[in-house]
Amino acid sequence: MKILNQIILILLSTLPVHAYTDLNNSELLIASDRLNGSSIQNAFGSSKEVAIQATVRLLRNNKLIALGSIVHPSGYVITKASSCVGAREAETFDGEKYSLKIKKRYEETDLAIYKLETDKNSFQVIDWDVDCNTSEGSWVFAAHSNLEEIRIGVTSGLPRKIGREGGVMGVLLTTDTSKVKGVKISEVVPQAAAYRAGLLEGDIITEVDNRRVKNQDSLIKIIGKKDPGDVVRIEVNRKDEIRKFLVTLGHRSVTFDLFNRNLQMSGPVSKRKDNFEMIIQHDLPIGKESMGGPLFNLDGKCIGINIARVDRVSTYALPAYLPSKVIAPFLEKLP
């Protein structure tokens, strides 16, 4: 739980309200000339149109849950699997709607292939560029989820692997100094896994999955090896009474959002944003419902698939070589 402290400590502006300056008196740059304004969008020219046509909206009960990237002219799309559970319908830029069928799911990359149910064989497909220079400060853009505009930004940070985060119970711990052996819960995160299972502040965790826990480190080690969704058996000492609980572990990011002011300011972020073999990062202002859609360079080539909205300034995309390689065997079998 060390990470939690670090998160809380990140400094945020706490200036009193009267320090805010009224900018109404000054000249403001007109909206169309700003980074994501219409003038700049238009400078992207035909790349913009192709991008919008090769992106689809994926709907559940008429609500947008993800975007998809068209990878085959007969209507096969790839998207972010974990965002797309229960998607029933796809909508293209021209307003046409199609029912959807899932064809394949790839756990490691969090990708899934869906088929738009139609005989049409002339969908605009994305044009992969697996060798593109995506070095820091390169223009990138993606279709806005309304499939009318685009959103613009640049790549940033280093291309890298994102490690696994593991499941969490949603408790803060202190090692109890009393004679009772175990790890004491000093706080239970409201609505998180431990809270729902019935654990309380002051409970002393003595065993996890029938293994003794002596200190915080051994507990964190056991839990950290599990994934979100896994169930663990917890034995606690509550006022000298032994009690047993089953806790279904949660996602770290979701569990600790309450404590993270950065995430509060970021708006909704993706549930799964860990455990990717390789990502490139960019600053496009897009929501978590825009994951699964293609990321383009200035030439309109697809250089990645947006895979996780991380915070207000960061989105991860799988670099083009990865998704194109993953789905190649599937596409080869198509007639």
């Binding site: 200036l15 994501n36 223009w139 640049v154 940033s156 280093l158 950065n262 207000r312």
Partner: protein
Amino acid sequence: MNRFFPNTLILFVSSLFLDADVVSEKKWFSETPQNHADLNAIQDRLRLILSEAKKSLVAIESDDGAGSGVIVSEDGLVLTAAHVIGKTGKKMKVRLPNGKSLPAVSLGGSEISDAGMLKITKKGKWPHVQIEKMNSSKVGDWCFAIGHPGGFDKERGIIVRLGRVIGKTEDTLQSDSRLLGGDSGGPLFNLDGKVIAIHSRISKEPDQNFHVPIECFHINWDFYREGQLLTFDKLEEKGFLGVSCEATKDGLMILNVVEGSSAQKIGLQKNDILYSLDGEKLDSREELTILISGKKPNEAVTIEYHRGEKQLSLRVVLGERPTE
């Protein structure tokens, strides 16, 4: 001599042409791009200067928080936000992009503009960048923010965000470069690679964030450098004149005179232009605040001002700041 002359002339002429070329090709600086060529010009320029800019970025760590800052002198003077340093004379740590941690001490700043300074205390030649001159940056300039959003992360590296200056007043600059906690105190650069502002506050709208314009540092440089920190708490105990002003090219124009204040009693009026206080020329509202806050209630100051065509001077005894 004769042989030199033509050479000199040729050099002179060609340098003129070079200058002309640079001006016409600076389309990346503040123009709205029309096509791919324009967009490429911006991208190429950003890539060219980004690596140098990043070398001067530091992560700032203290007991109670983390932020960013930028080194602006070889001996390690760092510009940051006042809310990152908190108070003067505080021991802090700064981290270079390679992860190396260095000792530092906080200097001065102002809670009003949120400008802050600190100094690396270890001797060395530190990577640093230039700051832009007074009144150079303007609305429409392309800019980029760098910082450590969410804290230092070596594997991730420094995060760059491109944008434009969307608004600027005497003590606030707004851009559509996106910011997050941990970016506070980090630099906003123009595409000449010079620091034009320091990240201060994020707006509810992600594309309207606030920065401290570099002008705030220029005007009060020595005050901050000497470890003077202007805080809201301090202001309460200090002298009070009772005017709100707007900077103009001639001085500070009074927008409003506080009822019952010293300024009202002595007869200062709306639209009077204050141009000096105890002989010091007034360039910004913050400078006036700093000068006044250097005095206690019942101390007197001499103010020179214009009213219409008339040049006037008066001596006024300061009052106490009214409690709200």
